[in-house]
Structures are given as C-alpha cells and as structure tokens.
C-alpha cells in the first residue's frame, strides 16, 4: 500500500437547507518522500482535503490510511499524537504563538513530545532556513517571510514523516514566496519528508513531483511530471 492512501473520502457540510460537498469522493495515493502540489480554484476543497488528512478535521465517509494506520478511526488522543508525531503543519497564516520566542516556537512540538530536544538539529534547521539569527526575537518582531520560515522550521522540528502546507506563500510577495517554497522543498528533500502543498502558483507547482488538481471536491486531474 502507498504511504498515504485516501479512498472515496467525502466531507459534507450542512449549511441550513443546502449541503456543501467540500470533498466528494477523493481517491489519492501518495508515496513516501513525494512532493505533491495541490491546485484548484477557490472553494474547491483543497484546505478541507489537507485538514482531513492532517487529522484536524474528520471526513464524513471514506477511509484514510497513513503509513498503514487508518487515521479516520483514531480517537481524540490518538489523533493528537498523530498530529504531533507524523504531521508537520505549515499554515497560511503562520500561527506562531505570540508569547514565545522564535526558538521556543520552533521547539514547541518537540517539547510536547517530552523528548530530549536536540538543539544541534534545530540550529541546523534554522541555518538552512536562514533564520538562525532570529532565535531570541518575538514573532511580532520579525517580517512575514521570516515568520513563514519559522513556521516551516516548526513543522520540521519534530522530524515528522509528512509536511502539510496550506498556501504557505499566500501572504508573501512572489520573490519571497519563491525563496520560501524552494527552502521548504529543498529542506523536505534533504530530510526525505513527504510534502503536500496547496498553492495557486503554477510556477511553484512546477517544482512538484506530481500535481493534483481539485475541482468541486473531486480530483480533476493527476499528472506526473516524469
């Protein structure tokens, strides 16, 4: 079985009278270490797909397997553990904790694991992402691009198997976003992480191993670049 396997995943939102099929029978398989770009028009269900896969949301029906575990049947605590150990999230709106320094934000997932923090790895990660001189600052004291790189570092800090990034560059200008995305991609490649990234930017999508196009909650087209 593939590393990630989604079988006929559906997500239904009931909004008063009418039902919204945010996901309407998604079937996707992703291999370990792959870089997937998800494209699609606004409202097509990209974020929903990522949230369901990342254990932030539960699908209405269907099955999701990650590394052989059926994650749509995990309980609350198991889901939390799954998010903590297997997944690294990069949110569109960074979501850094304002009370903590950059360094502390980055090591937060490791602290939650109650694991010994390997500062060498964190330092290395910060160097790679070019934020190694910002460690003692607060999130409000650094720029948007820097914040996003911090968010990426945080997603990678705990050495998860899979990074899920929802429009990580949506808030940034083209120049910076290309830089950030290439950093993200390079870092994932370097550490052999599976990367699933939602983007509107075809140029960025061109870096991906595979592009999945979503429309109206269905996979419209899957194309392999090689």
């Amino acid at each position: 079985m593939a590393y990630v396997s989604m079988k006929n995943v559906k997500k239904l939102y009931t909004q008063g009278e009418d039902d919204v099929h945010a996901l309407d029978g998604i079937n996707v398989e992703i291999e370990k270490g792959e870089f997937i770009a998800i494209l699609g028009p606004s409202g097509s269900g990209k974020s929903t797909l990522l949230n369901v896969l990342g254990g932030l949301d539960v699908p209405s029906s269907g099955e999701i397997y990650v590394d052989g575990r059926k994650i749509n049947e995990l309980n609350e605590n198991q889901l939390a553990e799954y998010r903590r150990k297997t997944i690294g999230f990069v949110f569109q709106s960074f979501n850094l904790l304002p009370a903590l320094t950059i360094e502390e934000n980055i090591i937060m997932p490791i602290l939650m694991e109650q694991k010994k923090v390997s500062m060498e790895f964190v330092k290395e990660l910060m160097k790679v992402l070019e934020i190694d001189n910002l460690g003692k600052r607060m999130p409000s004291q650094i720029s948007g691009g820097q914040q996003q790189r911090v968010a990426i570092a945080r997603a990678l800090a705990n050495e998860p198997q899979m990074i899920l990034a929802d429009e990580p560059t949506g808030n940034l200008d083209t120049e910076i976003s290309t830089k950030v995305v290439s950093l993200l991609v390079d870092t994932c490649k370097k550490y052999q992480k599976t990367l699933i990234m939602i983007t509107h930017n075809e140029e960025i999508a061109a870096y991906a191993d595979r592009i999945i196009r979503i429309k109206d909650g269905r996979v419209e087209k899957e194309n392999c670049l090689y």
Binding site: D57, A80, R84, S140, R154
Partner: protein, 792 residues
Amino acid sequence: MKLYEKLLKITFFKAKDTKWIICVAAFVIAMVSMLLTSANSIKLSYLQAVNQTPQYDFVLENLNDEQKQKYENKDFWGSSIEDITCSTNVFELDIPDSLFYFSVTGLTGNFEEVYSIDLQEGHCPENEKEIVVDSKFIENSGGSYKIGDELVLSVFSVQEKVYHNISYEIVGIFGAKASAGAEVYAFCTLEGAQRALKKGNMDTSYRVMITAAGKNQEMLEKALSYIEAKDREQIGIRFNETRLEMNGEEETDGGGAVKVFQVLGILIGVVSGALLFNMLQVASGNKIQQIGMLRCLGLDKKQLYQCYLLNLVLYLLGAMGGGFLLSVILEKTIGNMLFQRFLKGFCLSQYVELSFQPSLIAFVQAGSLVAVIFSVVYIVLLRKSLSYTPVEAVGSIAEGQFNIKVKSKKMDKVNVVTFVGQRNLLRNKARTFYTGFTYFVTALLILTLSMVLFSVDLYDIDALKKSNLFDYEFYDDSLQCSLSQEMVEEISKLESVATVECSRRQVYEFYQKKENIGTYNEIIDTRVYGDELLQRICKENGLDYQGHESEPYYLLLTKNNTQEQQIVLYNQNGNELKIQINGNVEQDNYCDYGGVTVTLLMNQLGAEALFQDDYCYNVLYIKAESKVQCVEQVKAYLEENQINMVYSDLQEMTQDAKTQLGSIVCVAIYLMVCICAMTITNIICNINVNVQLRKREYGILIALGMTRKKVIQLIISEIAIISEYMIILALPLALVISLFFISGAGQEINVLKIIGAAGIGSGALYGLTYLLCYIKGNRVFDRNVLRLLDKE
C-alpha cells in the same frame, strides 16, 4: 450616528468580553450595596429608637415616699423645670402557675411617650385596677386572655413568707418588647403599682424624670441646685438618661454590628474593586489591539474617546441594571435572612426594633464605586493605547511582549505546560498582578477564616462557665436569703448530688459617692459567694483566694478597668461604710445579671461584716451524680424544709447561649459566602475572558498535537501558578491574624488544628480553581480545532 452604531457593534455588542465585564460589575454592585444596606439598616434602626425615646434632662432614682412627694411638686423647683414625670422603679409580679413574671412599672403621665410603647389595642390604664400588657404575654398564654379580662398576679411578701394575689383588668395590649426568657412587661398607674407593692410589704421606690425649662443648661444647673444636700448622697441622679443609654448602646452592640458590616463592606469593596480591575486588565490586550485597528481605519483621538465613553456608559447601564436585579434578589434572600439571624445575637437592646431597610442610596454608592473603577481603567487604557503607534497596537507588541526578558533556559526536558503557562503570565504583567492580588486577598480571607473557625471552640467561652461546670441552678425566686450553711452541706451529702456550691445574689444596694463627678451617685450591688465559687472567680480573674477564707474578702466587679483600693459606701440610712478591696475583677461568670452597675463580691465573712446579718444563701449550683434523681432529691429536701426554690437546667441554658453564638457563626458563614461568591466569579470570569480571547493560541497548540487534557492543564496552570504563589504569600499573614483572633478569644493554640485548617482552606481554594478551569476548558475545547483556529 451611523459611524458610532458601527463602532459600538465592534467594540461593545460583538466583543467577547462584554458580558463578563458586565457580569462582574453587576456582581460587585450587588455585593457592596447589600453590605452597605446592612450597615445602614442597623444604624437607622438605632437612630430611630434613639429618636423615639423621650429625653429627660435628669432622672432621680430610688426615691422614698417622702422624697418623691417633695420632688414631684412643681413648686419645689420654681421656674427651673418644665415637666415632671413620676414612675415606680421596675418591680416583678409573678404570673401564677407559670414560670413567667411581669416586669411592672407604675407611671404618671403618658405611657406611650415615656416608654415608647406601641399600643395595639385598648387604652392606657386610668385607674389603679387597670393594666396594659405585652402582646408576648397574650401569645404565650395561648389566647386565654383578652381585653377586659381579669388578670390575677401574685407578689411575695418577705415578712409573711406568703404570696398575695392582686387582681387587675387588662385594658390594653402593646407590641411586644424584646425581653429575656420568661420576662414580659406590663404598665399600670402609679397607684396600681403601689397597691401591689403594699401587699408585698415592699417599700415603693420611685423615679422622677425631669425636663429642664427650655432644655437649657443654665436651668438644668439651677434645678440641680434645689436637690437637698442630704438626698444627694442617697438618691441616684442620672443625666440625660435615656438618650445616654441609647447612644451608649449604639456604641456597643449596635455600633459593633455596624462596624462589622462596614469592615466587611470595605473588604469586599477592595476585593471586588481589584476583581473588576483585573477583569478589565484581562481584556485590555485585546482592547488595545482593537483601538489600534480603529486608528488604522482612520479614527481620530476625539472619536476614539467618544466611542469608549459610550462603551463605558453602556457597561455602567448594563451593570446597574444587572446589579439592581441581583441586589434585590440578594437582599430579599440571604441579606435579609442573615441580617435577622446575625442581629439576634448582636442586638440585645429592648428599645431597638431592628429591621432591614434597603435603600437606593447604598445602591447608588456601590454603582459610583464601579463607575470610578471603570473610568480610571478606561482612561489608563486609552492613554496607553494612544502611546503606541497603530501598527504596534495592532501587532500584539502592545501586549507587553517587548518586556519579556527571555532567560536562556536549558530547553531540554522542560514541562511544556508550566513553561507556556509561565510565559503567558509574564506576557501581561498587569493582568497577572491584579489576578494575583485578588487571589491574595481571597486566600487571606479563606485561610484566616478556616484557621479561626477550626481552632476556636466557640462554646468554650466564659459566659458558659457556669453551664459547663454545673447541671442545675436552684434559686429562690424572691431572691430572699433562705439556705443556711448547714443546709448546703446536707444537700451536698445527698447521694445523687456530686458537688454543691452556693451564692447569695442581690443582697442590698449601696450608693457610692464619687467626688469627682459631683452629685453623681453610683449604685453598688452586692453578692455573696461560698468559698469554692469565690476561689473559681478569683482564678478566672488571675487572683488567688487561698488563705483568705478566714477574713472578710471583697472583690470589686466593674467593666471599666478601675483599680480601687478602698471604696466608701452609703447605706439606705445614710451611714458611711469604708471597705478595703482585696482585688478588682472584670468578670463574674456565675451571675447573669448586673454587668451595668458596679458589684461588690464578697465571702461569707465579708457579708457578715457588711450586713451584720447571719449569712445564708439563695442560689445553689449543683453537679449531679445522676441527673434525674438529683432534681427529685433536692426538691424533696427543700420541700421538707419549707424552702421555696425553683431550678433551671443549665444545659438548656447552654442551648440558648448556643443560639446566640450561632449568630457569630452566621457572620462567619456570611463572610464565607461572600468570599466564595467572589472567588468563583473571579475564577470564572478570568478563565472565560482569558480562554475566549486566546482561543486561537490554544487552537494552534491543539493543531500542533497537544492533547485536550494538556491544554486544560495549561489553562489551569496559568491560574494555578498564581494561586499557588498567592496562597503561599497569604499563609503567614493569615496565620498571624488568626493567632491574634484565637488568643483574643482566650483559647489555646493548637498547632495541629491550625495546620489542618490551613491545609483544608488552601486545598478548597485550589480545588475550586482546578474544578472551574477543568469545566471551562473541557467545554471550549470540545469544539472543532479548525474553528478555534479561525481568525476573527
């Protein structure tokens, strides 16, 4: 106007903290206004009583017939006086076949005015056969008496040693006067009283109440100069009697109660002020961001001030409305109830009819307190917000994050919950400070109260000494001397009797001449004690009677802390007696009456020397071997010797005393209720606003894989860290205060009990915090993670 509508929608109606701020403010208003109302009600009740009681410029007491006739004569006084009222001193008449007795007063003049009685039915007595009685008597008799009925009372004749009946006709019933136990009141004409006193072969003693002409000092002095020199030494002269007495009472029991409530009010005011301040501080970070946002949108300073002024007014309106409803509910329920219970023990005055009198003034005062706090907080808030650039304000820089000094901590193996919790506390220091302060005060109150309540045995007080030592008290109703030393010894030999001790109560009254107060003559009561009891009294007052049994021994009992070596007394015949005092004492736990007058306590030999009388007793204190038989055997013995004595079960008296003590417990509970209500409000509001405003941060943590349990722990830890520190800080101070209280109550300090109480008190506070955090946390985070992450 459209603009302000929009602004209010953002800043007030849609703001998450609005309802909590209003809740706390309403609560504060209600609490403070209830306490102020209680204090005011007591004061008002006393003042009403003071104003209702007529005032005489002076009262001549204990006059004999001849003296009465002289001073009752208006011509005697020339033009110096305006009005004279004459009454008999209060005397007792028994109600046959019952334990009850009337305290009767005969009076010329208007009863309703002089004794401020409230005649409910009938009219005042007009001839010597008519009498008006207390409605309490009518109730107690089960309605077998009504107006027009004959009332037969009995009076004991000391000389003939028999009871005589006197019949009266009930012509009126007045509202019950507060009185102790079996006592009820009755009033008749002067002649009506004389009739009874004559039957009992008692000399009538009169009081003449005198009002100086024009109520003026000069006339008063002139009037006093008429009093004959030979009378001055014998009769009691009291100035401004009623008024003085009333004012005195307001100072003592009523005043004490007012002070208790005032202190409570101030305490609660301070704590709730801090609570409200804290509440607004919690919300301030968010408000500063909000203000920054509005400034980014182009609002100028004036518009901002107007917008937040409107906010303030709306908060106040909401708080006043809510507070009014709440205070009405509080006043109607616990306020009224606790007030009544509380005062039963505190107000002993028969003149004062206490009533709970809610007033708008207290409410307005409480409202003003809240308004002031609101205004101060808002001005500080706005000034602070305007000191930032809009961008700084919008980014959470304004939340004080620049001020966090990050210590390079070894980051491996930190507890994520305490770590993030501590960091959050550092982030808004003002909020942490006020939360801490409210916690500190609550912890202080709870710990002090629990330590005091645990360690003090309320029932181990001096007033209950007698009841704790003996089972029965036998006494001669007519307070005549009737038991010889031999008889006492014989009773002690009865098999059901363990021990007997005895005393003689109310022997004679003397007058003491006090040079420095001019014509003021003080009445001195006398009391004789057997050796054992006298030794007890000495011990309780830090003296030693041992070795003095074979000589006259005198103790002077006064409450005013005097140290007399010798006193000069005058007896009824005007003879001077010089008494050497062996010691001055402040308490005599074996006699309930007195307390107001100075009393001379003495042993048998002292009595012999003073009264030239053979000594005997009229009170027996008995500790029984077997309770049931004891009464029977003692009664039989007394009957055999034709001694007329009644007895009271001291355990029943203990029960009565406990009821009174209950009111002290009531105050403690009252305080506890207030504090608990405040603590709960504090915690709930703190958590709610905190969680509401920082929902997103908690959401991020959950998205990063923190379990719900851990997030709840985090919320708890943020409050718990504060409560831990504050409990630790409050503990020594609470200990000092409670030790002060415990030793003040004259009780031993039990370390184990105090440790236990401190443990329970802090455990309860900590537990309450924990529980509320848990409930709130569980409810909030039961939601979808994504919804927590939503940006507004």
